[in-house]
């Protein structure tokens, strides 16, 4: 039997080969990121040769046939929808995460885990269908009349169009989509807090909520913030679900009941005709570059913070 087992030299040779393969493979993710950015940017370049980046970013006119490419409506649309989504999602998600880590019995955790898993696993097009069938009518028929009647004098809540296809509908759908993510990250961060902090605070006579508010929340704030930023970057790039409920009108939105046209929706809706109009493809891939740059910035910053926080364990 011993005849078949490799000799030490063979094993060392095997080891060296494996080591080389690993180092080549481990460069793959970084190379991919650089390559994706560079490839998209090269396609964006022809547009930058004709217009200055600043003009593109603050231009509000989008008429590809006439050669007018203003990205501002799309950038604002993206930011509005994302902001509404994150604003709606953060409070309940933080509370849920606090509940899970500080109050819940093991049974509740066991029950909630698959629910969050399924919410995270549902495809975005399913969220889109739900949005079209449930959220859009709800926003259009229930929320919009109430808000315009009682709070219509606040510009943020005034309504200029009769349907529910709006920033608010997109925000609600986004909020549900990023919820499992936010809860999971916050829970992870809270789990790294040493038990002594809790015991110390409770031992001094603080209630659980006081412990959360004055000890855990303050100490975990960097991690929680990083989690929220990471959730925001997920929301920024969400395409299908938002595209289906947000109305897709290239305008500068003024209220949450206005339709908007986020960057991902712009790319997805127009890819079919982009080769037929000059510079149109450069403009659409430029939209992809903008999206990528925003998301990358959010991502790198929050991931660096989170890696540090989670390494405390």
């Amino acid at each position: 039997m011993g005849d078949f087992s490799p000799t030490l030299t063979q094993r060392q040779a095997q080891e060296r080969t494996a080591r080389r393969v690993v180092f080549v493979l481990s460069a793959l993710p970084l190379v991919l990121i650089i390559y994706i950015t560079a490839a998209l940017f090269t396609r964006f370049w022809p547009l930058l040769e004709q217009y200055s980046l600043w003009d593109l970013l603050i231009g509000t006119q989008w008429y590809p046939m006439q050669g007018k490419f203003g990205f501002l409506p799309f950038i604002t649309g993206t930011l509005w929808v994302t902001a509404v989504g994150v604003f709606l999602a953060v409070p309940p998600c933080l509370l849920t995460a606090f509940y899970l880590s500080e109050y819940a019995r093991p049974l509740t955790r066991v029950l909630l885990k698959p629910v969050l898993d399924v919410l995270a696993a549902l495809p975005s097009v399913i969220y889109g269908v739900w949005g079209v069938l449930a959220v859009v009518p709800f926003v259009g028929n229930q929320l919009r009349p109430v808000f315009s009647q009682y709070l219509g004098w606040i510009p943020l809540f005034s309504s200029h169009q009769p349907t529910g296809y709006s920033i608010l509908a997109g925000g609600i759908v986004l909020a549900v989509m990023i919820a499992p993510f936010l809860i999971a990250v916050t829970y992870e961060v809270l789990m790294t807090a040493p038990q002594d902090w809790r015991l110390g605070s409770l031992g001094l006579g603080a209630t659980r909520w006081q412990t959360i508010r004055y000890v855990l929340f303050r100490q975990s704030l960097p991690g929680i913030l990083a989690g929220v930023v990471l959730g925001t970057s997920r929301a920024l790039g969400e395409t299908m679900a938002v595209l289906m409920v947000v109305g897709n009108v290239p305008q500068m939105p003024r209220s949450i009941f206005d339709a908007a046209y986020p960057l991902p929706a712009l790319i997805a809706n127009n890819y079919g005709e982009m080769m037929s109009v000059p510079l149109y493809d450069a403009a659409l891939l430029g939209a992809a570059v903008l999206l990528l740059v925003i998301v990358l910035a959010f991502n790198v910053a929050s991931t660096l913070v989170l890696q540090r926080v989670l390494a405390r364990r």
Partner: protein
């Protein structure tokens, strides 16, 4: 000593109520979503839907089914998962054993996290220009490759999670017995992470089958069942999206049915992965 109500007791109760509401909200949103999909999709679901390809006039409400999209999605996600697996298994396996906590390993982890966060529409656009420069048209192969890029970071991360939770002693014991790192990785770690592999594969498959934005540019859409890697392929998410966009109620009904089918597939994959992982996990050292 008599108990006296203080402001902090009230705030404790109020916050607790708010927390119950939040948890309830999470449960309720899943229930509402599933209810919407099932109640709309079930009446529209017929045997014809899952067993036939679209016939003439399908998009005006005539007969036919979405077998093309179901099979197309399975091919796309299956192929992508296979390719992603080939690359991510060694990457995850050796990230810990060879690179450990070194500076380079942290770079690799950071770039994986960043890749994981890149929106699928950007992958779609990237796949599209890649195919343009190679002179390819929208095809099954293009879709598979783009989805594989999307799935790669998800898979590596899922595997890496399991490897990191592995008992440190196990690796040390194997090294102490004189094994090379390669032997540790391929004989010890690989066996320990079987459950992680199962979870990772199913997680990535579920992601891949539900993603619409990346296959929109790269896989195209067709009414026939894909027979070659170079031909376009239909997919379920796009079937839902396109059919919902038509003005005909009969066609929209089919979108609901397609959405239900997609939801069922994703749910089975997601819940099945927990079950399988638990089964396989029995054989690893805790």
């Amino acid at each position: 000593m008599k108990f006296r109500w203080h402001r902090r007791h009230w705030s404790e109760i109020i916050v607790k109520l708010l927390m119950y509401c939040s948890v309830g909200l999470v449960f309720a949103s899943l229930a509402v979503i599933l209810w919407t999909i099932v109640s709309k999709g079930l009446p529209a679901l017929t045997w014809e839907m899952v067993s036939q390809t679209p016939k003439g006039g399908f998009y005006l409400g005539k007969e036919g089914g979405i077998l093309n999209a179901i099979l197309g999605s399975l091919y796309l996600a299956g192929g992508a998962t296979l390719i992603a697996f080939v690359f991510s298994l060694p990457l995850a396996l050796f990230l810990e054993t060879y690179l450990g906590q070194s500076r380079w390993a942290n770079w690799v982890r950071l770039s994986l996290d960043v890749l994981w966060g890149i929106p699928s529409i950007v992958y779609g656009a990237f796949g599209f220009i890649l195919m343009l420069s190679l002179g390819m048209r929208a095809s099954l192969l293009g879709g598979i490759l783009t989805l594989a890029l999307l799935e790669l970071p998800i898979m590596v991360r899922a595997m890496d999670e399991v490897i990191r939770r592995m008992p440190y002693d196990l690796e040390q014991a194997a090294l102490a017995l004189g094994s090379t790192k390669w032997e540790v990785a391929s004989r010890v770690v690989l066996r320990q992470m079987l459950s992680g592999i199962v979870t990772a594969i199913l997680l990535a498959f579920g992601r891949g089958i539900g993603d619409a934005a990346s296959v929109l540019f790269t896989a195209g859409y067709t009414d026939s069942i894909p027979t070659s890697l170079m031909r376009p392929a239909a997919s379920l998410p796009l079937a839902v999206f396109f059919q919902l966009g038509t003005p005909f109620p009969q066609v929209q009904q089919r979108a609901y049915a397609a959405a239900l089918i997609l939801t069922v597939i994703v749910l089975v994959v997601s819940l099945g992965s927990r079950f399988l992982a638990a089964q396989v996990g029995k054989f690893s050292v805790k």
